[in-house]
């Protein structure tokens, strides 16, 4: 890469290397995701990840920060997120004291005081500003989590930061990152993000994994789970996803469920235990009602047959 500092880990040079990089930290990515990630790293473009809750969007940023040994700067979005909590704020109490001190010492030079009050010394840096700061280990991983929760005004602001890797503080001037951070934006699609923002990013829809990949994920994340149990859990969840549920379980739920069943000392799926622990997988009462009891029993039997024949 451009930098020669020691300790900076180079970015992956190929798609295969990207897959390997993610796997190092136990993230089993499919090729499409690895391709997009590779491109985003090489092209220094933000990566825009959309998908259902619990498919591992946020995890990518964490894994990247871990494997590339970069700082992780996380901005959790929420309604009403504004400049003072996302970008920077002035340290008013300290400024107040400064003014009082200046008064006490007498002979106030107004221009000097103004310059002193609005200097970097009194600046409180919030995530966006932190993400633009230089770092010896390389530009940080900047995670903008659940952007759909912030209101549109913030989205518009982000547009400028993402496109130019710079921002302007009226009292201080323009702050520009020497190297743009690695930006990962995630959204759960509770509303549509504006096309202008999407255009500046590389887009990827993170889908549920297939059975093979999900088994590998369970295996890599939860090595303590019995092989038979994990295979059955994955097959059960995969069967649920084909049904017409209000909210299909994500990978996070699969992992939770496998952990829960292991905690209950289960070595294989048992229909009654499945019915009792459905709340770990399904979070809507309608869905649980539908699956509980006979339907759960049927799916467990299907899963067993399917695994026996395979």
């Amino acid at each position: 890469m451009t930098s020669t500092e020691t300790g900076r880990r180079p970015l992956p040079r190929s798609i295969d290397e990207t897959v390997a990089l993610l796997e190092e930290a136990g993230y089993i990515a499919d090729r499409s995701l690895a391709t997009v990630l590779h491109l985003s790293l090489r092209m220094k473009r933000p990566l825009f990840l959309e998908g259902e809750a619990g498919v591992g969007k946020t995890e990518i940023a964490k894994v990247l920060s871990k494997t590339l040994r970069r700082r992780l700067v996380r901005l959790q979005c929420y309604e009403g997120l504004d400049i003072s909590s996302a970008v920077y704020e002035w340290n008013y109490p300290a400024q107040m004291i400064e003014i009082r001190m200046a008064e006490a010492s007498g002979g106030i030079d107004r221009a000097e005081l103004a310059a002193g009050i609005f200097s970097e010394r009194f600046l409180i840096k919030r995530p966006v500003l932190q993400a633009l700061e230089p770092d010896l280990a390389g530009p940080p991983v900047f995670l903008v989590d659940e952007l759909d929760r912030a209101d549109e005004a913030f989205e518009a602001f982000l547009l400028e930061v993402l496109a130019e890797a710079q921002l302007t503080i009226p009292e201080l001037g323009t702050i520009r990152a020497a190297e743009p951070p690695i930006v990962i934006i995630t959204t759960n699609r509770t509303r549509e993000i504006h096309d202008a923002l999407k255009r500046r990013c590389l887009y990827h829809w993170v889908d549920y994994p297939d059975a093979e990949r999900e088994r590998r994920i369970v295996h890599s994340r939860l090595p303590g789970v019995a092989v038979r149990l994990s295979a059955e859990v994955v097959a059960f969840v995969q069967a649920l996803r084909t049904m017409d549920l209000f909210k299909a379980p994500g990978v996070a739920e699969t992992l939770d469920w496998a952990t829960a069943l292991t905690e209950l000392d289960q070595m294989a799926l048992d229909p009654t235990v499945v019915s009792d622990t459905l709340g770990v997988l399904l979070k809507y009462q309608d869905d649980i009602q539908r699956i509980q009891g006979s339907e759960a029993r049927r799916i467990v039997e299907d899963v067993r047959q399917q695994l026996a024949s395979a």
């Binding site: 798609i15 090729r31 997009v36 309604e79 009403g80 255009r199 829809w205």
Partner: protein, 422 residues
């Protein structure tokens, strides 16, 4: 590579061990041309692919170090597809456009730095003719794939547009409809605002604004401290409209669409769905500036005009597919239907419950209310009534003004309380 295209195709240029060459402008350009044409095919198929995306796509292919067809597929996918819905179109277009395997390998070989040098004079012509061939055979099937759908829609809409024109808006003349349209598009919606957590300066605000205070204090040299204030900003809540376009509602469909078009123009966040036997999102269509254009685009999209109605199915679909995407910000939901339902009652109750729970305010606009002797007798209506927040009449222009007041939440007479009708 020789000038003869037939012999050139089979071997390709990407034999390892060849002398390394910097990517040549002209050779990279061939793939670039193809990407440009491919982008054009996508654009024709309805994907919003602008020139900037095309430049990105070319840069991406150069950067990615592509070795296989799959890599090219996902590389272009990463740049050109920005919505999940577009994936299917992209997939089809890619399959057809890059069908010629030898062509793709050849193009990749051209990009590869270890590709063999090629005769610069003979190459362009041979390559160009093949590219043109691939193009003409590639672009047309995509259009053909689309064409049958368009024709089906057109057939439906032509016949139904006649019905709409004959019957529309309860025996009003064309001139009156014109006046109604003009009135509607001039209509200024009452301010109905909700407070959000974002702040803005306000002289009489409840909250202290330290930053503005410091600025004004410094202006006075630190001697006088004048408190500046701010308060929570107020915005319009989003609106989600669900409009019934079944046969029994057909005489009102057009005027409601005009209303929703005007509303979409006025307010930023209006999402509109039409339902008869199936659910269609027409938000993008209604965003067109010209009302006729918008309505034409809408009618071209919808295939179930003036057919039957399945309210429960439509609402269940809405809850499952769209609810999480458009109901995130606490919207007002306008459910415009006569409530004459044929689906199972249990499903309807469940769908209405969920709809009601996921929005700020559920307002049912029912054109049947214009009949003075209206009583809630139909079972569907009796099921839906307890599950809405307001029940309102909308059958003429007065009532659309009434409807605006109802959205603003101002008037709360007994007639709008759904329980009064049970």
């Amino acid at each position: 590579m020789s000038a003869d295209p037939s012999s050139g195709e089979s071997t390709g240029g990407a034999l390892p061990g060849g002398p390394a060459h910097p990517p040549h402008q002209a050779r990279a350009g061939r793939l670039a041309d193809n990407i440009v044409y491919f982008a054009r095919v996508l654009r024709d198929a309805g994907l919003p692919v602008g020139p900037a995306s095309v430049i990105d796509a070319i840069a991406a292919v150069e950067v990615a170090g592509i070795a296989s067809r799959e890599d090219l597929y996902w590389t272009l996918h990463a740049v050109l597809v920005t919505k999940r819905e577009h994936h299917a179109v992209y997939d089809e277009a890619f399959r057809i456009y890059w069908r010629n395997r030898q062509l793709i390998e050849k193009l990749l070989a051209m990009l590869s730095p270890i590709a063999r040098p090629q005769a610069p004079t003979a190459k362009p012509k041979a390559g160009a003719s093949r590219v043109n061939k691939a193009l003409s055979s590639g672009a047309e099937p995509v259009r053909q794939v689309e064409r049958p759908e368009v024709e089906i829609d057109a057939r439906f809409t032509v016949s139904d547009r006649e019905i709409l024109q004959k019957k529309d808006f309860a025996q009003m003349s064309a001139a009156e409809i014109g006046a109604a349209k003009a009135e509607l598009s001039r209509l200024i919606l009452p301010e109905h605002k909700v407070r959000i957590r974002r702040l803005r300066p306000k002289a009489s605000g409840r909250l202290f604004d330290p930053r503005a205070t410091f600025r004004s204090t410094l202006r006075a040299g630190g001697e006088i401290i004048r408190l500046e204030r701010r308060d929570r900003r107020e915005i319009h809540p989003p609106i989600v409209a669900l409009l019934d376009i079944s046969g029994s509602m057909s005489q009102y469909s057009r005027i409601f669409l005009h209303f929703l078009h005007a509303l979409t123009e006025k307010r930023r966040r209006v999402t509109t769905f039409l339902f008869g036997t199936r659910l269609t999102n027409v938000t993008r269509q209604l965003r067109m500036r010209d009302p006729d254009e918008a309505l034409d685009a809408t009618s071209a999209l919808v295939a179930d005009w003036s057919g039957g109605t399945r309210i429960a199915t439509a609402l269940t679909t809405f809850n499952r597919v769209w609810s999480r995407r458009v109901m995130g910000q606490g919207p007002i939901v306008l459910l415009i239907t006569d409530g004459l339902e044929r689906d199972s009652e249990e499903d309807l109750a469940q769908a209405m419950d969920r709809l009601n729970r996921s929005c700020r305010r559920l307002i049912w606009l029912n054109p049947l209310l214009r009949f003075d002797g209206f009583e809630a007798k139909a079972r569907g209506i009796r099921l839906m009534l307890p599950r809405v927040d307001e029940f309102r009449s909308v059958h003429n222009l007065d009532s659309i003004a009434d409807l605006c007041r109802s959205i603003s939440g101002g008037e709360r007479s007994g007639r709008t309380d759904p329980k009064a009708w049970l």
